[in-house]
């Protein structure tokens, strides 16, 4: 019984010491597949290995396909104790293709199908929070090199998001406007590139070296609220930025995180996308204090990336 219980995903939270974790021993069994294409469960012809396919879309003119499937080693499951869903988004047929090389049509299809899945998940009455993220490269936490994203939806807000929501609500009540809208208005961040829907910036408080945020110009707090033009705009900038990163920091591992409120929640959060190159592992100082050492000033980062994005126009 004790052993069996250990195998079930379990949520842990300590609001005094500000700690939060999900325990899932099953996930320790996940394979690490980097070079070996023949072993890759996301490659063509491995359909039988997939647990369950939730959504599938095709891009025939490019011989491409995007699939959203059940994660074989989930950190939450539709069972009591840590209720939720943990998906994998296999965003290309190719074992080695990278998002920086995706066409505009490919990017828009990807963002649209992830949004469809977001709606499906939010329809579950128990789902309170959804996190969409990408780990690219083993240094960013990926265990399989074949490009993919993950969508985790579960029944409680993480401690950080709970506390963030309260702080943002207080800001709204005092200032009568959204914190992030005001930051955009006050130009606190360092602009890298923009289009009519988004600003790509080096955030004023940059925790990670060479971190970039894509901030939506219109106030919306959920991924599900983005319209087609906003999805297109995000794809356009993500592709440009990933290409610029590839020149600035060749082959750097990176994360992309969609910072979104769940449906039916108070609209105090403002939707943005984090793009985080992972240059060095977090050290003991960060582990202990939650304060990050960043060796590149946001101004320096914005200048460097802006030049590369502009060169490629």
């Amino acid at each position: 019984m004790g052993k069996e219980r250990n195998k079930m995903p379990m949520l842990q939270e300590d609001s005094y010491l500000k700690r939060n974790s999900k325990i899932t021993e099953n996930r320790a069994k996940r394979p690490f597949i980097m070079g070996e294409k023949e072993k890759c469960p996301f490659c063509k012809g491995k359909e039988r290995q997939l647990e369950e396919i939730y959504l599938e879309v095709h891009l025939p003119e490019e011989r491409e396909r995007i699939r959203i499937v059940k994660n074989k080693y989930p950190f939450c499951e539709p069972i009591k104790g840590n209720y939720g869903f943990h998906d994998v988004v296999i965003d290309t047929l190719s074992h080695k293709k990278e998002p920086k090389d995706f066409s505009s049509a490919h990017w828009v299809l990807l963002l649209e199908v992830m949004q469809k899945r977001w709606y499906q998940l939010q329809k579950d009455a128990q789902v309170k929070f959804t996190q969409i993220f990408k780990n690219n490269g083993s240094g960013a936490g990926a265990s399989i090199i074949h490009s993919h994203w993950q969508i985790a939806a579960f029944d409680t807000l993480p401690l950080k998001q709970k506390e963030q929501n309260i702080a943002l609500m207080h800001y709204y009540e005092e200032e009568k406007q959204c914190y992030i809208c005001e930051q955009l208005h006050d130009k606190v961040h360092e602009l890298i590139i923009e289009n009519s829907e988004w600003q790509a910036v080096a955030p004023a408080v940059s925790q990670y070296t060479h971190e970039t945020w894509l901030i939506l110009k219109t106030h919306k707090s959920q991924y599900g609220q983005l319209n087609l033009k906003e999805l297109q705009g995000a794809g356009e900038l993500l592709k440009k930025l990933l290409n610029a990163y590839n020149e600035l920091l060749p082959k750097v591992p990176y994360n992309i995180c969609f910072m979104s409120n769940a449906m039916n929640e108070e609209p105090y959060l403002h939707f943005y996308i984090q793009l985080i190159p992972r240059l060095v592992p977090m050290g003991g100082f960060e582990v202990a204090t939650g304060c990050y050492i960043n060796t590149v000033h946001p101004k320096t980062h914005a200048t460097a990336l802006r030049q590369l994005v502009e060169t490629r126009r």
Copy 2:
């Protein structure tokens, strides 16, 4: 001027989005020295390369020496904007000796000299917070393989520590006792090994896979308050645990973090030491949510490490 300002360490905090960083471009220049002994600035005969030696103690019978020196690439400095001190503790003369191999006398000397430095730093009226930590191995954030620790003392509490102190104070006011004392009393953690001064446990809320805490049995909140017997007891358990880890997870990178309040602060925190093996890099989920995926249950970890510690007795 703009360029110069970028070079100065700078503290950044966003209490709404729960972000905190120190920007220090100078630190980007630090060397990465792993195998090459001849280049190692911490080895014998490289005294001229050291910036300033604050403390030096010898262990003649073992031909050992411990030095606390100024960090050449500090993330805080005794200048305005991010006032502080950032030391390096070079805890052995040997390029390859590891703390697991230190004698008991070596461990006690190390803990005593770090405590002396802690007192020196706390005497500075501007110092409000001190973090002692060790990054062992490049996967744990170390840039130099020669064993060392770091001591950072500065003029503000990190955001997490500020919020933690408030939460712990509220707990104390409501429950009339220390949160961590009560956790010890209620046996919420999984015991690995203990002596008369400390409990080594797998904490109930384990964020990191195979994480261990050394919790002081007596309520004290500062490193400076520990007596000789408590320092000896900590050294004894740290040595045993590092040897057990070396069998459980050979050559795993790890962090050791001293979780201490600063002098003159309210005594709501309870001193403990975190020992954190760094098995996999943090992924996008952790980056976005602050919630950690841990693939080993604290019960499983405690059982595994307890067996190894007991075998070695």
